[in-house]
Symmetry: C2
Subunit: 228 residues, 2 copies
């Protein structure tokens, strides 16, 4: 419980540090991808990780995560969803660090990740190609992906991952990339078209056979639908 009186709290010299780590998902070239950074200092120097940052005195965890996103991929106004908090004392080999994991969905346009600070690299990985990660970040990523799947099953909420205009096939590839299963085109399409926030444009995607129609999202209607 909260309180300055609790003795375990009063001896606060040894309180744990708290970080926010982000599984940042994007969709490009027909594949779901996640942003990883490479750490250049010990422990886990050279390991790939989910990007994250330490919570400061003034910030909430969500603000911390938002800052990470802003600094790394220059993205603002992104939907962030809390996945869970990981507190195993052994998860950090040196100090006690508790972390709260978030997932974020970003458009492929606005992202040229720029590693700074103690990072030597930053890159988008296809989910299948993700290497073993440092700390317990494999577990964080699994949890984030699992939660994204759960949310997607309940409601349509991944249009932040698609460009302004997109074809239904692209949307289907995105769903398949997240859910990791193949979907029936006709059933998928019928479900999509039943959403009133999906708007047919009069343009077609050039350079692809079949000449697929482009669609866009009516954000206000989507907002309403997501409220439920």
């Amino acid at each position: 419980m909260d309180g300055p009186v609790n003795m375990r709290v009063s001896t606060a010299s040894s309180a744990a540090a708290h970080t926010a780590d982000c599984a940042i998902f994007a969709f490009s070239e027909g594949e779901l991808r996640v942003l990883l950074v490479r750490r250049s200092v010990e422990p886990f120097a050279g390991s790939w990780l989910l990007p994250g940052g330490a919570m400061s005195q003034e910030d909430t965890l969500e603000e911390t995560a938002r800052r990470v996103l802003l600094e790394l991929v220059g993205v603002q106004d992104i939907s962030l969803t809390q996945v869970g908090t990981f507190s195993d004392p052994g998860r950090h080999p040196v100090r006690r660090v508790v972390t709260t994991c978030y997932y974020a969905l970003v458009r492929p346009e606005n992202h040229t990740p720029t590693p700074r600070g103690h990072l030597s690299d930053a890159a988008w990985y296809r989910l299948d190609d993700v290497p073993p990660l440092g700390f317990d970040h494999d577990e964080l990523l699994r949890a984030a992906h699992h939660q994204l799947i759960q949310h997607l099953r309940e409601r349509p909420m991944v249009f932040d991952l698609l460009p302004e205009r997109f074809t239904l096939t692209e949307a289907q590839q995105l769903y398949e990339g997240i859910l990791r299963e193949r979907l029936d085109r006709r059933n998928f399409r019928r479900k999509m078209l039943s959403y009133d926030f999906l708007i047919e444009t009069d343009e077609k995607r050039a350079g692809v056979q079949g000449g697929p129609l482009l669609y866009r999202i009516d954000s206000a209607a989507l907002r309403r639908a997501e409220k439920r």
Copy 2:
């Protein structure tokens, strides 16, 4: 991200304390109830709260929550589910305290809550009767209850709240208490009876008109069903 090298972390003198707060639900006299404790010291002296405790160096948050449950209601081997982490810097008026909320489901038998330490009282409240709580615990309780509802809609998982033997009406009252809506008896009953982990006994509940049959749970089969 994790790392001793991050400067915001290195100045760790001011790290936040971390607590685990529990929404402990029980079902008695046909009503869903939650355990509240009354705080006897400032800040929020005299306020009702969700019980909680500070995370120590060696423990995970879940172990912390488990200890709270053990000390307060003497219950062990309870399913604990993480609800979320709350980090608003203003949520504690004095110090920086981040909390992670869990919910737990306990059988009505094993509980005579015994307030200790800085608590003057502990009592089961019907959800409707919960008074305004101290800190941001109204929000924690709302979040915990909301998550319990979500989980219950997805799968049957509240038999930890029922006694060894129970009638289907009792189970229905429990569902209704959690979901806060009225259910159709025949539909509810059909769904329950479709579960193969629900086992009809040959006893009837005495002292109640109609002479309702008692049922029990095959824990192993339930475990399997919960896996999904």
